[in-house]
Amino acid sequence: MIALMGVSPLRAYGYLLRGAFGDLNSVAETLVKAIPLVFTGLSYAFAYRCGLINIGAEGQLYMGGLATAIVGVYVKGIPALIHVPLALTAGFLAGALWGLIPGVLKARLGVSEIINTIMMTYIAQLFVGYMVTGPIKEPGYFPQTALVEPSAMLPKILPPTRLHLGLVFALLAVAAFWVVLWGTPYGFAVRAVGLNARAAEAAGIAPGPTMASALAVAGGFAGLAGSCEILGVQFRLLQGFSPGFGWDGIAVGLLGQATPLGVLAAAVFFGALRAGGNVMQRGVGVPVAVIYVVQAIIIIVVVASMYLQPRRGWGRPGAGRARVPAAGVTAANPGAEEVPRCLTVSC
């Protein structure tokens, strides 16, 4: 495809690699792009662990960015040690709210969270568009907010590159994801519902509230992606401030198999694709959109190969995908064979 554009693919890949890992600055740039992807990847993964499909991370990210920007711009005169956590909390809560709504609709009315998270994404983007052209627009021509207060900006951790403190937050989020899911009763409930909602209910876990709150937490993760992007990179809210980090999060969560380290690795990989893709676009004029094609192919190949593996025991449907809950499907239609397994774990 790249060759079709009259550009040598090797040269394009050369730019891609150089842009991703060529020097210190490129590596930093890769990590800068990976930070929001870690959060959105965790967002998809967290919902996935509960048997839910969150494809609305982009919208949750926008709401998180909006809330963070408001706190960052309008709360003045407090030290960074308070300002930054406050702005991050606002971002988390806004994202969580955006996840909670489809979560409650799913839990209470059984409405598919897939369609609702998508609809909420469009609503969030339009809402941010309204806010930056109206209520919180800075004086002047541009549809954007004023710069956030210096006390809210995340410090650079590797000058002169753009790498910022968000990297540490991203790593903390990965750790939190792991601790919550595998170290707390709540995380156990989330995973139990994800594996088999009916069995979880039989074991005394209420699937409804668990699902709703899991989607809220997932939204919160995505909201933090927006927060870090605002406080660490953009410093102000713009209409289209995310180049699709939320959508990429789906690929990150999938490729990372919804595990903490897997998500981290996948986020760095897609961060490299983005950083390299930008350099490639500048260098040889291949549009960054090519990386969507790359992502799609990776998803198809990775996921399809999971299913194509020779299955042990022909009689067991789903034996080839035992590691990750078959989100949504398993939750809605519990397979009989999983009941005993789940019950023994809880006993």
């Binding site: 079709l4 609702n116 998508i118 339009l126 959508w247 090519v290 996921v303 499907v329």
Partner: protein, 314 residues
């Protein structure tokens, strides 16, 4: 006098509503088939996008919008075949594969658009469809212009809704489709080829999504812009759910969403002091409200989302 002004306004509004609803219900007809056969296809968005670009490329190089539409349908068919291979033969997760198709659609169309038309400030000029008045019927007051002064693709869409309804509920093959969606094993037992039925439904779905995309770029919007489908593929899926997996229901739901779209444009033009972003939210909010209010009563086919494995429990 005043009456006729009001009537004209209403009639204009309805015409716009049908125009806006068309890409949604055309795609929805395809989604009814996949849905009924037990497949959730969220990849209609990406398929439509590829159809949109294919239609523009086809119309540009072959000269007529009709040819462009055929190219769009062909591309849709190929995407449908690919999707069917992934979810029916490989048995991969339908949601994930649908998402991949969407990403592929977004990336491939943006890239190919630049490959074919280079990067220029002037968008390529293509001949689009123009409206065709149905004799006599278009003279019906109020409803006439809405339903009978549209571009031919819209009529084709209406006909296909009827055909889809007939096929699904009045033919043996339609019964097979519904059986496969409800209880694939039982269908298999009575000699229905489950995999073939699902393949066929995916192909129909792809074809319709391609057609809807073609209508979008050659009828409604005249030209291709990046990510121009803008959620219509997902709204079509919502219309199918809202319309209870029935082509007529999906058509009604699509018309409702189209009316929301048209209303938003009208209110904006009329200078209502509601920021336009809130108007643009209308179809999305409407979709959520519709699903929350009615989905409790509408039940998806029982085998939805589950791949069918012939060799089974001992």
């Amino acid at each position: 006098m005043l009456d006729s002004v009001v009537l004209t306004t209403v009639s204009d509004f309805l015409q716009a509503a049908v125009r806006m609803a068309s890409p949604i219900f055309i795609a929805a007809v395809g989604l009814v088939f996949t849905g009924r056969s037990g497949i959730t296809n969220i990849g209609a968005e990406g398929t439509m996008l590829m159809g949109s670009l294919a239609a523009v490329i086809g119309a540009y190089f072959l000269g007529t919008p009709g040819a462009g539409l055929l190219v769009a349908m062909l591309v849709g068919l190929l995407v449908g075949l690919f999707f069917a291979y992934l979810v029916v033969s490989v048995k991969a997760d339908q949601i994930v594969m649908g998402m991949a198709i969407n990403l592929l659609g977004l990336g491939a169309t943006t890239t190919f658009f630049r490959i074919v038309f280079k990067i220029s400030t002037v968008p390529p000029q293509v001949t689009a469809f123009s409206p065709w008045e149905v004799p006599l019927l278009s003279r019906i007051p109020v409803l006439g212009p809405a339903f009978f002064v549209q571009i031919p693709v819209v009529y084709l869409g209406f006909v296909l809704v009827g055909v889809a309804y007939f096929v699904l509920f009045r033919t043996t093959w339609g019964l097979s489709v519904r059986a496969v969606g409800e209880h694939p094993r039982a269908a298999d037992t009575v000699g229905i080829n489950v995999l073939a039925v699902r393949y066929a439904c995916c192909l129909v779905d792809g074809l319709m999504a391609g057609l809807a995309g073609g209508y979008l770029s050659l009828g409604l919007l005249r030209g291709f812009t990046e990510n121009m489908v803008a959620g219509r593929g997902f709204i079509a899926l919502a219309a199918v759910t809202f319309g209870r997996w029935n082509p007529l229901g999906a058509l009604a739901a699509s018309l409702l969403f189209g009316a929301g779209d048209a209303l938003q444009l009208r209110l904006q033009a009329a200078g209502f002091h509601v920021p336009y972003q809130f108007m643009l939210m209308l179809p999305y909010v409407l979709t959520m409200v519709a699903l929350a209010g009615l989905v409790g009563k509408s039940r998806p086919p029982a085998a939805t989302g589950k791949p069918y494995e012939r060799a089974s429990q001992a």
